[in-house]
Amino acid sequence: MNNRLNVTYTPRGPISAGIKGPFLVTKLMVLELLSAKELVWRLFVRDFKAKYRQSALGVTWAIVMPLVTVGMFIGMNRSGILNISDVDIPYPLYAIIGLTIWSVFTVGLSACASSLLIAGSMITKINFPKASLIFAASGQGIVEFIIRSALIMLAFLYFGVAPHLGGLFIGLICLIPLYLMMVGMGFILSLVAGVLRDIANFLNIALMGIMLLSPILYPITGDSLLARANIWNPFNYLVNLPRDFIVKGASDFLTGYIISAILSIIFFYVGWKLFYLAQTKIAERI
């Protein structure tokens, strides 16, 4: 049931009485989100409960997975397969922080990308703000981050290193662009997944590839092709600046970070708008 009163459905989309003026679409998008706050929360809780309810390890999965990944890299480093250059803090700590920050993006994006498809029958039968599905799914990235933060704390204690207190706060705030980037891409990927079903498989490979090619689990230094390419990689800045702040309260990545953050906001807005305009067209094709 929609709460919009006096609406006219036309080939160009729904027209609600009383809302007009410039930035009409943006206004409608925001109004829709505000009216769907509760729905976003419900869907988020639903997904969260459903995800962890019937697994024996429950929430601990979120901790075991990064431990296994980091363990593999430590092993490769020690055996000399992979030569990781020195970082300011113990390497496992560096890797765990990087992976945890990165998980905001990967877990959230995977959830967003499949959210429309999973809700398929609902979309074609019930009229509700579809964007709430994406926002709800994006919350899973945040949950994953919070659970894994426990791991970071343990790692700090274990290695006897303290995070930079002021930097910790700034670092957390500086995760917002990464989140916005994820939601923006999630909007677009969820639409694409509605038409091309193989997006999920592709996404896992792509995310793994980005992780390995970006300085997330290990620093990429020197004058290699990869290092030069990473100057243009927004994830380089979106992950490393928050990590630097958490670890030492300062970062050299500021310029790149600001550009990347602006890029994220654009991605977020464009993705959301595209999604908003497309939602009625997707419903007839999903």
Binding site: M1, N2, N3, L5, N6, V7, T8, Y9, T10, P11, R12, G13, P14, E38, L39, R42, L43, R46, K49, A50, R53, Q54, A119, S121, M122, I123, T124, K125, I126, N127, F128, L191, V195, K273, L274, L277, A278, T280, K281, A283, E284, R285
Partner: protein, 407 residues
């Protein structure tokens, strides 16, 4: 009360026949609407067709529009446009108020969550706030009659419980427009009755659009009817029985089914009325003789024969059974002509099909069964959704009333 809540003007929707076109046009339409390019949605591109073509109607509060038509005639597409799931390609729909839908209820239930959790999720998908759901929770529980299962995961529910809970939530909505699509086909009789009462309550304050293939239901609830075929409204109006009749005329009688163990063979069936043989139609209350040419296995001494009529809903609406009439048919194994004379056929005007059963006297062994083998049309100047219009005499203070001509 009585105010206009839906106004649809010349709405049309086009669909693609192939997936290739769906994806191609989908991508181009999306990019165009994102770039703000005006699209001419009026003409059909290669591989497209109108699923709903130029439909107009108005509906006031308290009215119920029954939408009927064969499969694929555009009924569900129409409902989805009114529900705002997708936009019409031509025309426009004005809606004043909240739209509620009973369309595949229970969509959105998560199998891992309990019934209680799903009530809250589903309720908020349908646009109810937490407060509203809190307030209505007991009613929902009451209506669904699933008792303590409310705290069990929905995946352990029977399909009936699933639907009951879904309907219970949807029935709590207080919409101005209610869309109902073939949801009452499930559930037991008791629950169906409850659904009717809920719908009657909703109908008082809302305009209802009701899609169904169950004509008795349509006749019972609808105040107006729209008959669709191939996307077009072939009939629209307040004469519901006429619309239902129109709907039936879309269907040709399927070729009959002949079964049985072969110990009886029916060679020929013929209808006779007013002394004329080989007829296919007669007037309401005319006489009818059904002639059967048959041979039965000589070992069967006393076969029983049933002759009946099937409505277009495939319900057996009338039956004559030699057994119930205490008639014993003696069989010598020779070819025989059996005739059943009906002095006044009181089937309501419409199309019917004949069925013939030949069994033993215990009705256990079926020698021959001819189902829907021959068509009979009853002609009359009235239409009703009841399959039988009983013929009787009317009295006022013991004085019999006589038939007038046309009224």
């Amino acid at each position: 009360m009585g105010d206009l809540v839906i106004k649809a003007e010349g709405i049309s929707k086009k669909y693609c026949r192939t997936i290739k076109h769906t994806m191609l046009y989908g991508a181009t339409d999306l990019s165009k609407s994102f770039l703000g390019i005006n699209q001419n949605t009026n003409h059909l591109r290669n591989g497209e067709f109108w699923a709903v073509d130029n439909l107009s109607f108005e509906l006031k509060r308290g009215e119920c529009l029954g939408v009927i038509g064969p499969n694929g005639s555009g009924k569900s597409t129409l409902l989805k446009m009114i529900n705002g799931i997708f936009m019409p390609d031509r025309g426009k729909i004005e809606i004043n108020g909240r739209v509620g839908a009973l369309i595949e209820i229970g969509a959105g239930f998560h199998p891992m969550l309990t019934g209680r959790e799903n009530v809250y999720v589903n309720g908020s998908i349908l646009g109810l706030s937490k407060k509203e759901i809190d307030r209505k929770f007991d009613d929902i529980l009451d209506f669904a009659e699933i008792g303590e299962f409310i705290d069990a995961p929905v995946k352990h529910y029977s399909s009936g419980m699933h639907v009951r809970l879904g309907f219970a939530i949807a029935a709590q909505m207080e919409p101005d427009v209610m869309l109902i699509d073939e949801v009452l086909a499930v559930g037991d009789i008791g629950f169906r009755d409850k659904c009717f009462n809920a719908m009657a309550r909703i109908l008082k304050n809302a305009a209802v659009i009701f899609v169904s293939h169950a004509m008795p239901l349509v006749a019972r609830i609808s105040s107006r009817v729209c008959v669709m075929n191939h996307g077009n409204a072939v009939y629209q109006g307040r004469d519901v029985p006429k619309g239902i009749h129109n709907y039936y005329s879309n269907f040709e009688v399927a070729t009959g089914i002949i079964a049985g163990n072969g110990r009886a063979v029916i060679h020929n069936i013929d209808f006779e009325s007013k002394g004329e043989k080989g007829i296919e139609q007669l007037n309401y209350l005319d006489d009818l003789t059904v002639h059967l040419d048959l041979t039965v296995d000589p070992e069967v001494k006393y076969p029983s024969v049933a002759i009946g009529f099937i409505s277009q809903e495939l319900q057996t609406v009338a039956l004559c059974y030699s057994l119930f009439d205490k008639i014993r048919i003696h069989n010598a194994g020779e070819h025989m002509n059996l005739a059943l004379k009906l002095p006044e056929v009181c089937l309501s005007p419409g199309a019917y099909m004949l069925l013939v059963h030949i069994t033993d006297e215990r009705r256990v062994e079926v020698f021959a069964e001819h189902y829907a083998v021959k068509k009979l049309k009853i002609i009359g100047d009235f239409v009703t959704s009841a399959p039988v219009q009983l013929a009787g005499n009317w009295y006022i203070n013991k004085t019999m009333l006589h038939k007038t001509g046309d009224l």
